[in-house]
């Protein structure tokens, strides 16, 4: 039983690290947002795995991950809106060129 929990946690860790690598290296802002979604999904997977295999199995982890999904949807909507506004003002979606605070 417990080894399955470790497998799920390892899968979540792999997903989180892939998402982190995408956030750090990709240059398109859309892909950076998608990588953040991947990291949030890794967290959801951890919550649901512990809600089944934890010390006290209960549905609270699933409720928490539902709230998490809703927050992620709101975050993506706001992120895309900011991205479109930035594109309108700067003409690019490359995150390396969003440096308006520099000078």
């Amino acid at each position: 039983m417990s080894s399955m929990l470790a497998s799920y946690l390892t899968l979540a860790a792999i997903l989180f690290c892939i998402g982190l690598y995408g956030v750090l290296t990709k240059r398109s802002a859309v892909i950076v947002l998608l990588s953040i979604e991947l990291m949030l999904n890794a967290v959801n997977l951890n919550l649901i795995a512990f809600s089944k295999y934890g010390v006290v199995p209960s549905l609270k982890g699933q409720v928490f991950s539902l709230f998490n999904i809703a927050i992620a949807a709101a975050e993506v909507a706001v992120g895309i809106a900011i991205l479109i506004a930035l594109y309108r003002n700067r003409g690019t979606t490359n995150v390396d060129e969003f440096n308006e605070l520099r000078n």
Binding site: L11, I18, Y21, L33, G54, L59, Q62, V78, G91
Partner: protein, 189 residues
């Protein structure tokens, strides 16, 4: 130090297949050169994760995952790509030291987490039956009794976020939108 024992049964074989789907989708997301392919590949990852949730007896969360992630968020990302212009090639050909250091950091983080997971002995729960007879019914009871205040706060947050998104993304004025409708010209000034 830690055991790598893996029990082979139906559950774990199904888990392995789904895990391969999930990880290959994510890795292809990193390697595709066209951005629209990246989004489709990540949608594949989200569907695979929904399968993993079904394995974990979270059927309702799996349905929500497909609806929200594979449906809404992927479509929203594709809209974001269509409404902005992208240089087709994501990668630059030369070796980027930033990328090398990021890869090293991510691998180090993964190794740390992996050793932490494998060296921890998680206390096992007393073997009980399934979590709930009717997953959706029990989740509804939980949300609308014990967690009703976070639920209402979440609805307020969603309203605020979506109205804010509309306000941020819409054109300000007709004449101003005319001036900025061609960003390449603006950049050339």
């Amino acid at each position: 130090m830690f055991d790598l024992s893996f029990v082979w049964n139906g559950h774990s074989i199904l888990f392995l297949i789904l895990a391969v789907c999930v990880i290959s989708g994510a890795v292809f997301m990193l390697n595709f050169s066209k951005i629209i392919h990246m989004v489709v590949s990540l949608a594949f990852t989200f569907v695979g994760l929904a399968g993993v949730y079904v394995l974990l007896e979270a059927e309702f969360v799996a349905a929500v995952q497909i609806l929200v992630y594979a449906g809404a968020i992927s479509i929203l990302m594709i809209f974001g790509i269509m409404m902005t212009k992208h240089d087709e090639l994501e990668e630059s050909p030369r070796i980027q030291w930033k990328g090398v250091f990021a890869a090293l950091g991510c691998v180090a983080l993964f190794v740390a987490i992996f050793f932490a997971i494998r060296s921890t002995s998680f206390p096992t729960a007393p073997a009980t039956g399934p979590l709930a007879e009717d997953n959706t019914l029990e989740l509804g009871k939980q949300i609308f009794t014990a967690h009703v205040i976070p639920f209402e706060l979440l609805s307020v947050l969603l309203t605020v976020a979506f109205i804010g998104a509309i306000v941020v993304a819409k054109h300000e004025d007709a004449e101003e939108s005319e001036a900025v409708s061609s960003p390449s010209q603006k950049e050339a000034e």
